[in-house]
């Protein structure tokens, strides 16, 4: 734990040096290159209605896992169904869906503030996914809103209406792209809402494959949208969307897809189901430069990873984190090097890992 405090001090210091910026939590005014990963958080959603979301901390150097960090730091649990997490500047933001809270913590997981988003009728709004851009943090609210959180006051300062049941959100060239899943509707939604960051208004909608879930971007002006399909004849599809030209190309389609974008590569888990049973799966790499999926499997050392549930990648080391879940027992996190060799496998404290989130420092 001591190491974490050290880290926190370091990060606070780092933040202090960027005080010139109008929002004192904006971490990247000078764009120095990230050069080391000092810690990794794993967020476990737990099971719905079980109040068992947990946060684990992994030290990539010692390979030690510290479980249930949030509970240890705060003497209370995260709540029910933590869905997404963001590390930005000196703070971390955890969207806890069913508890309808956004926990803002320091880098050691100590809660600084709990945000309870509520609509005009004072009904809780459930936060889903987070992103940061331009000194602010943005969170999708499942009642069909995108909210902007001021990182200093740690309060929601504005909200804009988007499509139904928004999931992922991603910033590209001054615009925020929101995946409208419409998951509660009989027929799901098939659009991304485009919100102008300056005016904070929805300016257009872009049609994608039905039931969009996550959005990631590369540095060439492309968005990668994973749509989950209609649970029927349309399966999961990972699409590349060129925002400038409007071109959209499906780069992977299967019964189940999980993916993570890491610099110039996308790691894709793709599984085939027959009668809802997985009959075959692979892990492949999509080369953004070449615009195609490489032939060979990502995992090169023969490690078997069953029940893939989430994938994350460390932008500094290029390590790929694959979280697994069988929905009944606590999950595991498999850590692979960029070369596809198993670095470590750790047993998580909770069910249903949502991802790995990285503490990085500049040298």
């Amino acid at each position: 734990m001591e190491k974490k405090y050290l880290l926190f001090a370091l990060c606070s210091l780092m933040t202090m040096s960027f005080i010139s910026c109008d929002n004192d939590d904006d971490p990247k005014p000078g764009i120095p290159t990230e050069s080391s990963t000092t810690g990794v958080y794993f967020l476990n959603a737990g099971k719905l209605d079980s109040n068992n979301s947990t946060l684990d901390y992994y030290n990539p150097e010692t390979k030690d896992l510290t479980t249930k960090v949030f509970a240890t730091e705060n003497g209370r649990g995260l709540g029910d169904t933590a869905n997404d997490m963001l590390i930005y500047g000196s703070k971390m933001y955890i969207a806890v869906n069913k508890s309808a809270t956004i926990e803002v913590t320091d880098l050691s997981g100590k809660s600084l503030k709990t945000i309870n988003p509520k609509d005009e009728s004072n009904v809780p709004q459930q936060p889903r996914m987070l992103t940061a851009a331009g000194g602010n943090v943005y969170v999708t609210l499942f009642d069909g809103h995108l909210a902007c959180i001021d990182t200093t006051s740690m309060e929601i300062v504005k909200k804009v209406k988007v499509g139904p049941n928004p999931e992922g959100v991603c910033e590209l060239n001054g615009k925020l792209y929101v995946a409208n899943s419409g998951g509660y509707n009989l027929v799901q939604d098939s659009t991304l809402s485009v919100v102008d960051m300056n005016t904070f208004e929805e300016v257009e909608k872009i049609v994608v494959t039905i039931n969009p879930k996550t959005i990631q971007k590369d540095d060439k002006g492309n968005l990668y949208v994973l749509s989950l399909g209609n649970w029927g004849d349309i399966g999961n599809e990972l699409q590349r969307l060129n925002v400038a030209t409007g071109d959209r190309e499906v780069i992977a389609a299967n019964s189940q897809i999980v993916s993570t974008l890491c610099n110039d590569k996308i790691y894709i888990y793709s599984a085939k189901q027959e009668n809802w049973v997985v009959t075959g799966y692979d892990f492949k790499v999509y080369d953004i430069e070449k615009g195609k999926i490489e032939e060979k499997s990502f995992i090169t050392d023969g490690t078997k990873v069953e029940n893939t549930y989430c994938m994350s990648s460390d932008p500094v080391t290029g390590n790929v984190y694959i979280g697994t879940s069988d929905y009944t027992s606590t999950g595991d996190m498999f850590i692979f090097s960029a070369e596809g060799k198993l670095v470590n496998q750790v047993a998580l404290s909770g069910l249903n890992p949502m991802g790995a989130y990285f503490l990085t420092t500049q040298k």
Partner: protein, 671 residues
């Protein structure tokens, strides 16, 4: 019931009266196995048969009206919790769902019958026992495996365990009408008035009518543990209002047989508080239910060795579920379901020679479901069940063999339909009195049964799966029973111990496939356990009697689905290793007092047996006092209870906290 009560008191004082086999009003648990029931001469037997639990070749537990009143239980689930080998899944509060699971097989393997006809819910497959009132109940019994009564509907053979609810038939001696008026009130806004009228309409026709209305706001306080912190709050959105009415006609046509008709109506509206969610107490789900049924029963005895029995039922049930939530574009989701059932059962009992009898019963039913969900396939299920049973029964030996044939076909308007299902299910049981002079019996039984996938399992929007196979349950039981009546001070002492082994295969579970859940046959559970029951009555000085009853269950119910899973061989959720209950009632002429205790050991809320999933053990205690006053034909009963005396915070289902200390009073008059 005053006649019954009066008889009960007077007969209790008859020395050496051992019989409970035919005698309906014997004390609770006074089931002394005896072959000397002919001693009953001189006592009026009103024609109700109470089975002897020690004589049964499969475990049977009975609680009759006298026992219910003596213990002061007012709710069916409270009564069922007194039985061993049973878990009542209780979501807390008056409006909370309560289902019965026998020996960890799951609630969907338990049949619930109301006056001989099973109550079914083809959609969910389980019966919420909180909707039945105890006020007009004459006897409840729970049988595990195949009960010895071979003259039952085929449906009663088609489950692993059965909870039978038998309602009271009026008894007229001097007057031709009776009226019972009763009010219950209690903590958390409970008010429950009840009115019952019984009328004799000539020599062979009797009618009863009753109505009861219940309301409660159910806003009870709770405390739950949130890591190192305690979170306290009040249950919200837990209000309930129900109306129940029932009409009964009993006719004895002499040689023409016996014909009973029943009409039942139930209407309720309730809030669903849901589980306690940390930091978010928003709960706006509501449920409306309407259910009515008419059922008939006809029985005729031909000559001395053949009788015929026909039962039929039409059932209509409707419910509306509304979830007011800003996640829906419309601000709410509304689901409406309508189910209908047409059911007929006909059977014959043939006794060619003394001790030997055969029964053949056939049931046919049609179940339909309609709802407003998209892609509702409007399924119709045709079920044909036929059972052939043979029984040999003498003073020392009872053996029963039965075979059930099931045929199920289903029709849908859209989408896939399951293939027809055919199956033969056998059961065998035996009970043997070891020594002629000692009332010690050993018993053994085997039953192989299954449950068909429910409509929800097969057709529910997106998660339903029409490829499901039935979930199979195999039960083995071996046990001993012993009963004696050693002296006038120790009126009786009964003991039974059973060891069992169950296996559930092709368990139907909801399995997620990354982004969506689907119902699958995926799971195998091995259950071994021991049930022990003890009951005794001690009488002192002719005016005080102590009734003692206790039971204990040890159970190892482990998941053996997948050797590589982290929960392999872990105890399945909500199944305590140790559980038990005990009660002591003190009967005297001044004030009757009962003390009830139930406890359960640590359980797990999720399949993995880790600390985080553990639900702590608890002991719940209730004290009940009652007093009856009689004046000529008028009888007044006053009763008061303190439930959860220790004000223990406990949960049966994780994050559905149970109420703390609460109070209830009852005033009832009968004339």
């Amino acid at each position: 019931m005053n006649q019954n009560g009066m008889q009960y008191i007077s007969i209790k004082r008859l020395p050496g009266l051992l019989c409970a086999w035919l005698f309906p009003f014997a004390a609770l648990y006074a089931q002394v196995d005896t072959t000397t029931y002919h001693q009953l001469s001189g006592v009026e037997v009103v024609g109700k048969v109470r089975p002897s639990v020690t004589r049964e070749s499969t475990p049977l537990q009975v609680m009759d009206k006298a026992g219910i009143e003596r213990l002061g239980v007012q709710d069916l689930s409270e009564a069922v919790k007194r039985f061993s080998g049973v878990t009542v899944q209780d979501y807390g509060g008056i409006g909370g769902l309560k289902t019965v699971s026998v020996r960890s097989l799951g609630a969907k393997h338990t049949a619930v019958s109301y006056d001989g006809v099973t109550v079914t819910d083809a959609q969910s497959g389980q019966v919420d026992i909180s909707r039945f009132s105890l006020d007009n109940v004459d006897m409840i019994s729970l049988s595990i495996g195949q009960a010895d009564d071979i003259f039952q509907t085929a449906r009663m053979y088609a489950s692993a365990g059965a909870l039978n609810i038998k309602t009271s038939q009026p008894v007229f001696t001097d007057r031709s009408c009776h009226l019972k008026a009763q009010v219950k009130a209690g903590s958390f806004g409970l008010v429950n008035p009840y009115l019952r009228y019984e009328q004799k309409l000539g020599k062979c026709l009797v009618a009863t009518g009753q109505v009861d209305w219940l309301r409660a706001d159910g806003r009870y306080p709770f405390v739950i543990q949130n890591e190192q912190k305690e979170e306290s709050g009040k249950r919200i959105n837990s209000d309930i209002q129900t109306l129940r009415t029932e009409l009964n006609l009993f006719s004895d046509l002499g040689k023409g047989g016996e014909l009973n008709l029943k009409g039942y109506y139930f209407d309720s509206e309730r809030g669903l508080p849901g589980s306690v969610i940390l930091y978010n107490d928003y709960a706006k789900e509501r449920l409306w239910d309407k259910n009515y049924f008419v059922q008939g029963y006809y029985k005729k005895q031909f000559e001395s060795n053949f009788s015929l029995q026909v039962q039929g039922k039409y059932n209509y049930s409707w419910n509306k579920y509304v979830d007011f939530n800003n996640n829906y574009t419309e601000g709410k989701q509304e689901d409406r379901h309508t189910q209908r059932e047409y059911y007929i059962s006909a059977g014959g009992l043939y006794t060619p020679i003394e001790h030997l009898s055969f029964s053949l019963t056939t049931d046919f039913s049609v179940n339909t479901l309609k709802n407003n969900l998209p892609a509702c396939p409007f399924p119709t299920r045709y079920t044909s069940l036929s059972v052939l049973a043979a029984q040999y029964k003498d003073n020392r030996l009872t053996t029963t063999v039965s075979i059930l044939n099931t045929f199920i076909a289903e029709k849908v308007k859209t989408g896939d339909k399951p293939s027809d299902r055919k199956r033969l299910s056998p059961s065998v049981s035996a009970s043997w009195r070891v020594l002629p002079e000692q009332n010690l019996r050993i018993r053994a039984s085997f039953k192989d049964i299954f449950r068909v996938p429910t409509f929800n399992d097969m057709y529910y929007l997106r998660i339903g799966n029409t490829n499901l196979k039935p979930e199979r349950a195999t039960q083995y039981n071996i046990g001993m029973t012993w009963g004696d009546s050693p002296s006038s001070a120790l009126s009786y002492l009964n003991l039974s111990v059973d060891g069992y082994y169950n296996r559930v295969r092709d368990k139907i579970v909801a399995l997620p496939t990354l982004y969506i859940w689907k119902m699958m046959n995926m799971g195998e559970v091995a259950i071994s356990g021991i049930d022990a029951n003890l009951s005794a009555e001690i009488s002192c000085f002719d005016f005080v009697s102590f009734l003692l009853q206790g039971n204990y269950t040890w159970q190892k119910a482990i998941d053996i689905t997948n050797e590589s899973a982290k929960n392999y061989r872990d105890q399945i959720p909500y199944t305590p290793r140790h559980a038990g209950s005990a009660s002591l009632s003190i009967q005297n002429k001044w004030l009757n007092v009962s003390y009830l205790l139930s406890c359960a050991g640590d359980r797990y809320s999720l399949p993995q047996n880790i600390k985080e999933n553990r639900i702590d053990r608890y002991i719940e205690q209730t004290i009940s006092v009652n007093k009856e006053f009689s004046l000529c034909n008028f009888k007044l009963r006053l009763q008061g209870e303190v439930l959860n005396v220790g004000n223990i915070n406990y949960e049966i289902i994780k994050y559905y906290p149970m109420p703390g200390r609460s109070y209830r009073i009852l005033v009832s008059c009968y004339f």
